[in-house]
């Protein structure tokens, strides 16, 4: 087709685009995925029975804030990466802060207990299932986020995939925290982060393949 004819065709399709369209697409993908994940968590694992008592402990809020802040920074990063010509360095830096916080708390707590307690603290009673459950609960969010990114315009496929994976992993971990009754910061810093990281890795690999336009 001649370029002039193409311009005519495109110009006829100048339907108005609201300012919030890009953010809405992302919210729809991630939000829809999170809803599916949450229902899956309730049906498959169930919300921890001692939820009311747990909410009075700082350990519960640490898991809650670590994963939630990680997810918020993660989706903010994606919102930038999905727009050509913007910088996302600030948002990426913010993404590292929740982990730095929980890792610091974990190190201090580990240093304060007798050496024999350290290993049980870090391993809890569910270390062998925790990362995998997070990966599984992250999958719907992962799919929704990739769906959204494909509608938007990420110019760096691998980095965008990594960011999408980390954000989906963090949101999956947030949802898993409704079930998980572990309370040690060291446990969260290790096994939650491992689960989130695995989803991030999958995102980086799939981003190269799926985030092309």
């Amino acid at each position: 087709m001649k370029t002039d004819a193409l311009i005519d065709t495109l110009a006829e399709r100048a339907a108005p685009v609201g300012a919030g369209r890009a953010a809405r697409i992302l919210a729809l993908g991630a939000g829809g995925g999170a809803l599916v994940s949450f229902v899956a968590m309730v049906l498959w694992l169930g919300i921890r029975p001692d939820m009311a008592e747990a909410m009075a402990t700082s350990a519960y809020w640490m898991k809650f804030f670590y994963t939630l802040l990680f997810a918020v920074a993660g989706f903010w990063t994606i919102e930038r990466l999905a727009r050509p010509g913007t910088s996302s360095r600030t948002q990426m830096t913010l993404e590292a802060l929740p982990f730095a916080g929980v890792a610091l708390v974990a190190l201090v707590r580990l240093a304060l207990v007798p050496a024999a307690m350290r290993m049980p603290m870090a391993m809890g009673h569910s270390a062998h299932v925790c990362p995998w459950r997070i990966v599984i609960l992250a999958l719907p969010v992962f799919a929704g986020t990739f769906w959204a990114l494909r509608k938007l315009a990420p110019t760096r496929p691998a980095i965008s995939g990594l960011a999408a994976g980390l954000a989906a992993g963090a949101l999956g971990a947030f949802i898993y925290a409704f079930h998980c009754d572990e309370s040690a910061a060291a446990f969260v810093a290790l096994w939650y982060t491992l689960g989130i990281g695995l989803v991030g890795l999958a995102g980086a690999l799939l981003g190269r393949l799926l985030l092309r336009w």
């Binding site: 110009a11 300012a19 050509p84 938007l152 110019t155 336009w213």
Partner: protein
């Protein structure tokens, strides 16, 4: 900020509001810029395909433009992405130098290719050191500091060198005419 920025941005904002004539004017204004941008990098034969692909991408991805940010930067990132995508499809491993976003609206159409040749011919007449300085500062658009770092000269030496080189060039053009 380039002169093109406020004009193109105003057209884009109107187009996002559904103004067909502004949208047509925007796309028509972008086509020659894109043709020059791609033409200089991959030759005019393949450039037209990329011009069209980029125009289509501008259309389908227009929701990702944030009107609080420069339009030129958005446009440049899309054009550059399409260029990298082209190299990938051609199975070419090419590293693109970091470019200034203005480079996508800096030139227009085929005139610039001819002008580019003339500049190269004139530059060839300068001594190596001066030629490099002019190339860094005036063609690749490095800052004085960056050029100084690359050539190992002080910043003021770079400024003086470029000034003298340009003077010599204009003298040559005078002699040519």
């Amino acid at each position: 900020m380039s002169e093109a920025e406020p004009r193109l941005k105003a057209l884009m904002v109107a187009a996002l509001g559904g103004d067909q004539s502004a949208y047509r004017a925007l796309l028509a204004a972008l086509a020659p810029h894109l043709r020059a941008y791609f033409g200089r990098r991959i030759g005019p034969a393949d450039a037209e395909d990329l011009v069209q692909e980029t125009l289509i991408a501008i259309h389908t991805k227009r929701a990702t433009y944030d009107p609080r940010l420069p339009f030129t930067a958005w446009l440049h990132a899309i054009a550059r992405y399409k260029l990298i995508d082209h190299f990938r499809r051609m199975k070419l491993r090419r590293t693109l130098p970091i470019e200034d976003a203005q480079s996508v609206v800096a030139e227009s159409d085929d005139e610039s290719v001819a002008a580019h040749r003339d500049v190269e011919r004139l530059l060839a007449m300068l001594p190596q050191k001066k030629r490099d300085l002019v190339r860094h500062v005036k063609i690749e658009g490095l800052s004085t500091a960056e050029a100084a770092q690359r050539s190992g000269l002080s910043e003021s030496a770079v400024k003086v060198g470029v000034h003298r080189a340009l003077k010599a060039l204009s003298a040559m053009i005078g002699r040519d005419a």
